[in-house]
Symmetry: C2
Subunit: 356 residues, 2 copies
């Protein structure tokens, strides 16, 4: 919601990020988008209009990225578009990403593949996670167990046992990444995020609150499972209201670290003992040194690396996966792992709008 | 909104309707859909959920149609899906059709092409009409001017001058078809529509009201233009409230007839004088004898025919056009006439979700 991340990538044996670009979402639009995410009743005219406004911002982001990289649009095979999730409610079989793919195609003249979650959900799946197939394809190891950890607003992991086959892959949301830390930092310090985790480092963790929040059912539920921002909205922030600002940030950061570390309890313990295990981390949370430090401290037997060390820029990994999803759709390749989403069968996910 | 129309068609030189099927929309869903169409603020959870509920009803309709026709799903190349318009507001560049194409694909295993209007609208077009290319392709004549008239909720025409080229095609919404008549019949007579126009026939037309309503700007605006149901919602029905029931139906029917006939004033008069002109009518309104009679009386020089006489069942024509749109998308054929929609350029409209 803070900005539009664009990567230009080439897929050969291994994905190569040619260029990264970030385009801001202007404040009024950000306000509309955050409003949609937390409001029950919405103005339908404005909602439908935002679907197109956001697509036109996506078009500007794409055009900016191409200009910066000096690559003409006709050299791009397709855009993989996630869009802005405004609802993701597996129990209602309902998910919606704002930002019209058809409009983005019309405005850029480039093929767009989007709407990757709806088909899975129609088949009883969680509509998430989708990135595990990318992780399986490009990050599994013969000799090591790997936990591919992405820390965005939500944090999620893909578990790739050493030398695993597709059906052994596990993946789920561990849950808060930055989505509690960031709003608290904005509220108390008027900054978008806790740079390098400096604020958290100065604060004192309230262990009682962390323990209380970790009792929540979701953390203990066995995968497949996924969640949305709804679970950690304004209401949830009230859990930190009694704390002094630094302490609130430290406690929220600890909650993220602990929920990530605790997720290891949901993995097959035998497999974890069989081979050494590496974390491959990516996402905005990787820049939060304090958060990463806590994860390392909580998981002393695990080697902590970032995806950069494997040739995938940690800030570009999610966008890169969606670029690959677009390619996979066009090549009739499956990216869909029903075992991780809970869907009743394997399908080709995504919808194509043709740019030429 | 009353039901889901399915046609199974084969496209050769001329489209052949293999089978027609109609599947009811259950009352609670109809209530939700009509609510969305006229309400300003909506519950976002319920909206997103309806997107999937409706797709699952579409899947049942498709499955029912295939079963009835004894055709296996694998014999179907693609489904062309319009979806249920809940907003169509060209001046806001906003349109949205409910009923997820990705979900319909997942549930049927058949390729789905849908979302035919968004790309046009992103390019500044009205997002409508789309059927003119179908009319141009299959219904133009060497020696006669043809007005292809569809009377659904909204009525619209495609003008095909004798032996015309693509760029000479004109098309626009003439506006009320059944969308005023039906709610009034439901209100006063508790029936879904005025069967054969029998009620209107017994009523007396209030000429003053008809004239007043025909002053509305839209009727006189030059094409390209299109409109949505919003313009003729609950508020509009109040114009008929002072009349006795039969007279209200007669007056609403006359408004439809007159707005259709008046649309001829917006066509190039020279072309109309050059060749004889035929109307080819289709849609639910064709069954309203009184409405058709009034159109004939108002346009004595024009030959009135229904599309049935040209091999296209008049109740299946719209659905048939969308089946053809799906085919056209897959074959990289344009169905998009910027001249009739006002879009800035020609594009391939639609989005594909892959069923296999």
């Amino acid at each position: 919601m803070d900005g539009i991340d664009v990567v230009i990538a080439r897929f050969d044996k291994f994905p190569e990020v040619v260029s990264e670009y970030s385009y801001p979402i202007y404040p009024d639009l950000k306000k509309i988008l955050s409003g949609l995410a937390i409001t029950k009743e919405v103005d339908l005219d404005s909602l439908v209009s935002s679907h197109f406004v956001l697509a036109s911002e996506y078009a500007k982001a794409v055009s900016g990225a191409l200009k910066r990289a000096k690559i003409p649009a006709k050299k791009i095979r397709a855009i993989g578009l996630h869009g802005q999730t405004i609802r993701h409610i597996p129990k209602l079989q309902a998910t919606f990403q704002l930002g019209s793919g058809a409009a983005l195609t019309a405005l850029t003249g480039i093929d767009v593949v989007n709407d990757f979650r709806s088909g899975d959900m129609a088949l009883g799946g969680e509509g998430a996670p989708l990135v595990p197939m990318f992780d399986f394809r490009y990050l599994r190891s013969k000799k090591k167990n790997r936990i591919v950890l992405n820390i965005g607003g939500i944090a999620n992991i893909t578990f790739l046992p050493a030398n695993c086959r597709e059906k052994e892959v596990m993946a789920f949301d561990t849950v808060p990444g930055n989505m509690i830390i960031d709003p608290l930092v904005e509220k108390y310090f008027d900054k978008p995020y806790d740079k390098e985790g400096k604020i958290a480092k100065k604060g004192k963790i309230d262990e009682k609150i962390v323990r209380k929040l970790l009792l929540s059912k979701y953390f203990h539920q066995r995968p497949p499972k996924s969640t949305g921002r709804e679970m950690f909205g304004r209401e949830y922030l009230k859990n930190f209201i009694s704390l002094r600002p630094e302490n609130a940030i430290a406690t929220a950061t600890e909650l993220s670290a602990r929920s990530i570390a605790n997720a290891f309890d949901l993995l097959p313990q035998k497999t974890l003992r069989l081979h050494p295990t590496q974390i491959i981390a990516s996402g905005g949370g990787v820049k939060n040194n304090f958060l990463c430090l806590r994860i390392k401290e909580l998981l002393p037997d695990v080697e902590f690396k970032t995806s950069d060390e494997f040739g995938i820029p940690s800030q570009a990994k999610e966008a890169l996966a969606f670029a690959w999803f677009a390619k996979a759709f066009l090549d009739d390749e499956y990216i869909h792992l029903p075992k991780t989403t809970g869907a009743s069968k394997k399908i080709i996910v995504g919808s194509l709008s043709k740019g030429k």
